[in-house]
Amino acid sequence: MTSQTGKTKAARYGMVVDLDRCNGCGACMLACAVENNVPPAAPGATDRTGITPLRVYRYENEGRVVFVPIMCQHCEIDTPCVAVCPQQAVELDPATGIVGQIPQRCLGCRYCMAACPYHARYFNWSDPEWPAGMERALNPAVAPRMRGVVEKCNMCHGRWHEARELAAARGESGPVAYTPACVEACPARAITFGDLNDEASLVAQMARQNEAFRWLESIGTGSKVYYRSRREWVRESSRKEVNGRG
């Protein structure tokens, strides 16, 4: 879909999530749902059929607990989901580094969900339904999805659109600076967002620190969402082979 040109300097938007700060309040999950017009749980939905483009997992290991927010990790080394989509509904935008999912193009074959090691993709098993009148409170910057398509974190591209318009109005050029909803919402300021290409940016510096790590780094999909923790066992568990809860 894309034809990259060297005209504007490309950005690599990424995140660093500080797991020591997250206390699992869930503000990010709700902010994400509000920002991206994610519908409330359909009747009979469970944590396996729900739609939570950003989901905070409670990782309990020998009595020690850490909360892990998992959203699309925006992998950049032959991205698993991009390669498999039969009709180019998923793409990695070289100008922003965002892995974009276009529900209007999606066939709903769910191959990308099978491909995603982070389970960060969600299928609309039912028609989205809001309580009467609540559609008036939907975010105009994001279109609601229809039944039968896959959706995921697009790094709040609605906010990116608005930031880009504002930048154009101000005559600014280069990668636009914006803040995804989860980052703005986190009361613990656990998520840092920015352009990883910009060496000076806080996010780039934090991603380089020793305490930073990525989940499933061994698979080598080059995700752009980093995590950090001072706790050794947390960092270890990202390297340790799967010991999922039975």
């Binding site: 059929t49 039944r147 039968g148």
Partner: protein, 430 residues
């Protein structure tokens, strides 16, 4: 007006019987008995269609699939059915390209089976995808890197091929033969057969392979990910071989079943022998490659991705037993049974071996579809299990029913087994 009237008038009224439709010299059970056989399957079809309607109308919340089990019963059975349907292309390949004459006796039947399997699979897929109305996006905006695109293209094309191969048999029906032109058309098509067989072989080879590739390329799922040659992971080739291996088995099984139900000899004993022999050889090759592939995966691929393979087998019921069963019980054993002529000669053993092989391929598809999704990847996610809803079962039963019906009708009104007449005659003489 005249036209209309001619259309409306029934040609000539006679007692209800379909004698006129049945091929000369073939004796078939009377219509009522046939109707009795058809009725339950028709009912099953109706029920299945209702289940499918629910899924299409209300969405896939009718199924028990979820975000982890994005693929479920349907995909697993699709893969199996398509593998079993591979008999069509492979028999065609053997008959028309490698000139294995004996197989002329079953090629028609094989084509029908293939047609049923593929069309059935496509119907299931239409229900399985969330947005069937967008099916053509795959052709209009194809992503050439996706194995699924390859599959879609090949399956669709091959379905056409099968249809074209099926048509002449229909045209050879007694009543249709009365129409001039039909004969000509049929004859023309007949000359095409070898070409079609070639094309079919090529297409099938690719989509059987890509179906395997479907999982082999999932680098996000170390359980399924395999290295391979060029763009194709090893599963690509394993699927081709396994499909080719069980195809003949399945044909043998169906033929035997048809003989049992119709209480007739439809093909010479030699045909079974040929089918068995070919299956056996391919099967042993498959077992060999599968073993090598598994060893490479255990010792290199999986660890290099940070997942010691044994980890995948710690989840009950997906223990190592399943792996052994797949390779030894459903692979090696039938292969040996089929390779030894003396055993092969015993119809019972041959069919048992065939059945085992078919189960083997089904198990293999099951493992790749379900176990791949069941095993956790992140340290904090769970091992999950899933059981299909009645809508899922129903929709698939519809395909089974459709298959039985189509085969029954084809068997009754077309001559699927060219030597049937002659064999019947011989029986009478003796």
């Amino acid at each position: 007006m005249a036209v209309a009237s001619t259309l409306l008038t029934i040609p000539e009224s006679r007692p209800v019987s379909d004698r006129g439709l049945i091929q000369r010299g073939l004796d078939r059970c009377p219509l009522p008995q046939f109707a009795l056989w058809i009725a339950p399957w028709a009912a099953l079809l109706a029920f299945g269609l209702y289940a499918a309607y629910l899924c299409l109308r209300l969405g896939l919340n009718q199924t028990n699939m979820d975000n982890r089990f994005a693929f479920g019963l349907w995909i697993f059975l699709d893969l199996t059915v398509i593998a079993l349907g591979a008999g069509a292309f492979f028999t065609g390949f053997l008959l028309y390209i490698l000139r294995v004459k004996e197989l002329r006796a079953v090629i028609q039947s094989a084509v029908v089976i293939g047609f049923i399997c593929y069309s059935g699979a496509v119907c299931i897929l239409a229900v399985d995808v969330g947005q069937p109305l967008r099916f053509w996006y795959t052709f209009w905006y194809p992503n050439v890197h996706s194995m699924l695109t390859e599959v879609t293209f090949c399956i669709t094309c091959y379905l056409f091929v099968l249809a074209i191969e099926y048509v002449p048999q229909v045209l050879r029906n007694r009543r249709l033969r009365q129409a001039p032109g039909a004969l000509v058309f049929e004859f023309e098509l007949h000359k095409l057969m070898p070409v079609l067989a070639g094309v079919g072989t090529f297409l099938s080879f690719f989509h059987q392979g890509s179906l395997g590739g479907l999982y082999g390329v999932l680098r996000g799922r170390p359980f399924a990910f395999r290295e391979g040659f060029a763009v194709w992971p090893s599963t690509f080739f394993l699927f081709v071989i396994s499909a080719a291996a069980v195809g003949p088995c399945f044909i043998a099984l169906i033929t035997a079943l048809a003989e049992k139900l119709s209480r007739k000899t439809l093909v010479g004993a030699s045909v079974y022998d040929v089918l068995g022999r070919i299956s056996g050889r391919l099967l042993i090759v498959y077992v060999l490659f599968k073993t090598i592939d598994t060893l490479i995966w255990i010792n290199r691929t999986s660890p290099s991705h940070g997942f010691p393979a044994h980890r995948f087998y710690q989840w009950i019921p997906f223990g190592t037993a399943i792996l052994l069963a797949e390779i030894v019980l459903f692979g090696l054993l039938p292969a040996l049974l089929l390779l030894r002529p003396r055993w092969r000669a015993r119809r019972g053993l041959l069919l048992t071996a065939g059945a085992l092989a078919c189960c083997g391929v089904a198990l293999n598809r099951f493992v790749l579809t379900i176990q791949t999704l069941a095993v956790p990847t992140l340290p904090f996610d769970r091992f999950l299990t899933y059981f299909p809803s009645w809508q899922e079962f129903g929709t698939f039963l519809a395909v089974i029913a459709y298959g039985v019906l189509l085969y029954s009708f084809s068997f009754r009104y077309l001559s699927l087994f060219p030597r049937e007449r002659e064999l019947a005659a011989r029986k009478e003489r003796s």
